[in-house]
Symmetry: C2
Subunit: 386 residues, 2 copies
């Protein structure tokens, strides 16, 4: 298995991009990444996307995007695992290069959601849940997460205000990220008074959908002589795991088993433990998911997730910084692109270019992307080598 390194990153702002088509969005991110890598082309392009077939009436995003960015004839196809589609694309690029079958690849996550009416997007997001046993009961994706949050508060005795730091930290960090959608800090009062979406999840617990694309170029570590402009960043851990698609089928709905499995595998590959992680780009699609991710990935014991927020440990100067560029909450959550945004942000931190929210001396960063309500979780660990 060849070792694989990241040599280029690119992204668009998360926004309502009514003036750009799906392929333009993806093209901007992919071309930026290829340019940042100092290359003119790559051998393959792997696309992470969830809902283009329904939201944009366009499948076959591989050929669709590859041709647009000047990669006609390259290998290209799409990966889908709901909201973790972006990381699945990155993992595929990694395996393709590690196998020796492909010598350079760009993984690009893209989603364009704001062209569709909100009711349609809500229905499309629900296709990440179990159509037969969840969605047919009329439950939306937010409502599923609300059920989890309500149960978590009941089991472990947390109050609504205890989740405020997750949202406040995300918004505070997004102020410094020009690619983030919401660049205003929020107060605890604003958090507590935000409009309710699905009790107990309010607007400040929930990430917003949006349009956006992010991309990364990977090559074999052994071929790195051709780029000298950036510090070398190696992928030292990569794993994914699934869980039941329906929440009620899980033994413990308050435990992200797929996060536990994929993070443990990634730690083992990297030969490290959670205390070695300098920052953690987790999947705060809802604030409850930030708490559950921190617990299942070994950063704090079960039921204690909010403690890290309340103690200030999730801030860029804390013990385990999260959402350092805004997270899903404030950078935004264009679902199939999100996993790639997380990875791009980890790379920025390891390059020490995360201006305004830089984790000092960051050397090892982790990204974890959740598909569905925890039914697919992809974990990557990256290390700065020089």
């Amino acid at each position: 298995m060849r070792e694989v390194a990241v040599i280029g990153i690119g992204q668009t702002k998360v926004d309502e991009h009514w003036d750009k088509s799906l392929r333009e969005l993806a093209g901007i991110a992919a071309l930026s990444a290829i340019q940042d890598a100092g290359l003119n082309q790559v051998d393959a392009l792997y696309v992470g996307n969830m809902m283009s077939g329904s939201a944009n009436h366009q499948q076959q995003l591989g050929a669709y995007i590859a041709d647009w960015v000047g990669l006609r004839y390259a290998e290209s196809f799409k990966l889908e695992s709901a909201c973790s589609s972006g990381s699945s694309a990155f993992r595929t690029a990694l395996m393709a290069v590690a196998s020796g079958s492909i010598d350079s690849a760009v993984a690009v996550g893209v989603e364009k959601m704001t062209d569709s009416p909100g009711s349609e997007i809500t229905a499309e997001l629900a296709t990440a849940a179990d159509s037969d046993w969840e969605v047919s009961q009329g439950v939306s994706f937010v409502a599923l997460n609300a059920l989890i949050m309500r149960r978590y508060m009941f089991e472990y005795g947390w109050q609504k205000s205890d989740f405020a730091p997750f949202s406040m930290n995300a918004h505070a960090n997004a102020v410094h990220n020009p690619f983030a959608r919401f660049r205003k800090p929020i107060t605890e009062k604003q958090y507590l008074e935000a409009g309710m979406v699905s009790d107990p999840i309010n607007l400040m617990d929930a990430s917003a959908v949006g349009d956006g694309s992010a991309a990364i170029v990977v090559v074999p570590l052994e071929k790195l002589s051709f780029t000298k402009s950036h510090p070398i960043i190696k992928i030292i851990g990569s794993a994914s795991a699934t869980d039941s698609i329906a929440i009620h089928d899980r033994k413990d709905p308050l435990w992200l088993k797929a996060a536990e499995i994929s993070s443990k595998k990634a730690y083992a590959q990297a030969g490290i433990s959670p205390k070695d992680i300098d920052l953690f780009e987790l999947h705060d699609a809802f604030s409850i998911m930030a708490a559950l991710s921190l617990e299942a990935s070994g950063f704090i014991e079960r039921g204690k997730g909010p403690t890290l927020g309340l103690n200030g440990e999730i801030r860029p100067d804390g013990k385990i910084p999260i959402a350092t560029r805004g997270g899903l909450k404030a950078r935004g959550h264009p679902v199939g692109a999100t996993g790639m945004y997380q990875l791009v942000e980890v790379v920025q931190q390891l390059r020490h270019t995360a201006e305004g929210s830089q984790v000092e001396g960051a050397k090892i960063g982790m990204a974890q992307n959740i598909g569905g309500s925890g039914s697919n979780i992809v974990t990557h660990i990256l290390e700065r080598v020089n």
Copy 2:
């Protein structure tokens, strides 16, 4: 790069499966393949599917199917490249195992199309073409292929009847395949008198949509001691390539450049040439595509594809047998599953279990799966080792 072998195959009949859900269909094929491999489980499940998000209101097929077949917690995600989604899943399984990241994987292609009205399916199939520059002009996917066929007949002087052998051969072979949808031979008269769909493509040029699933288990060749029940079948060539998604953007709309590129790469990896191929499961979604695939893959010179049919060379006892179990035309074309059906059929031939249409002494077989109107083409070459 580890060498990879096929050790298990499974499939459902292609049919209107109104009594089975999407996950049941995929589950039957995946479990059959795992059982055929003599295993109880595998490390990962990669799903090839095109349109479940719209046709079945279900995304996240990885977790959805993995849990159903007893693989909860395994790695699993979906691959999409329109009608070549099945082969993209197989190629991903191959790269995952070759990379050393995964030790055993099942690739499963599945599509359930007959629950949706025909008009919806026509619209969903059109998402494989360019939404901005083809579909918005009102052209359907069949119409795009009809334009190609009409041009081909004009350029090279072929008559409609010259394409009859493609359809007749497919139907003759399907008679012997219990998993095929249409198991009746057809005459030249029936071919010529079939109802027109989009001139010059009539019902007997076009493959039918359907419901179905097919699956294959792959493992590293070096770990093959644990199965002794089947001949060892090694993957000796694997490549994919893209072309422009819109046909009018191609320099030559009558040449499948992505077939040429991916087949040449696969031949080079295998160290063979077209004359070494004992059978070729090609993508006869329309009879014109059979002709173009034979040409671009090096079996006959440009513009001469129909000659092979007219001379009987495409039959099981001919020089280059195609559609040996019915092909897309008569086995059926559940789009995201088709690539996996082709590969399962190649394995049957190499195991010498293709009863009724066995290619005598078959040792090397090729499968080629086309996404869109040639915008994504995946080629695999398999060899029987013992």
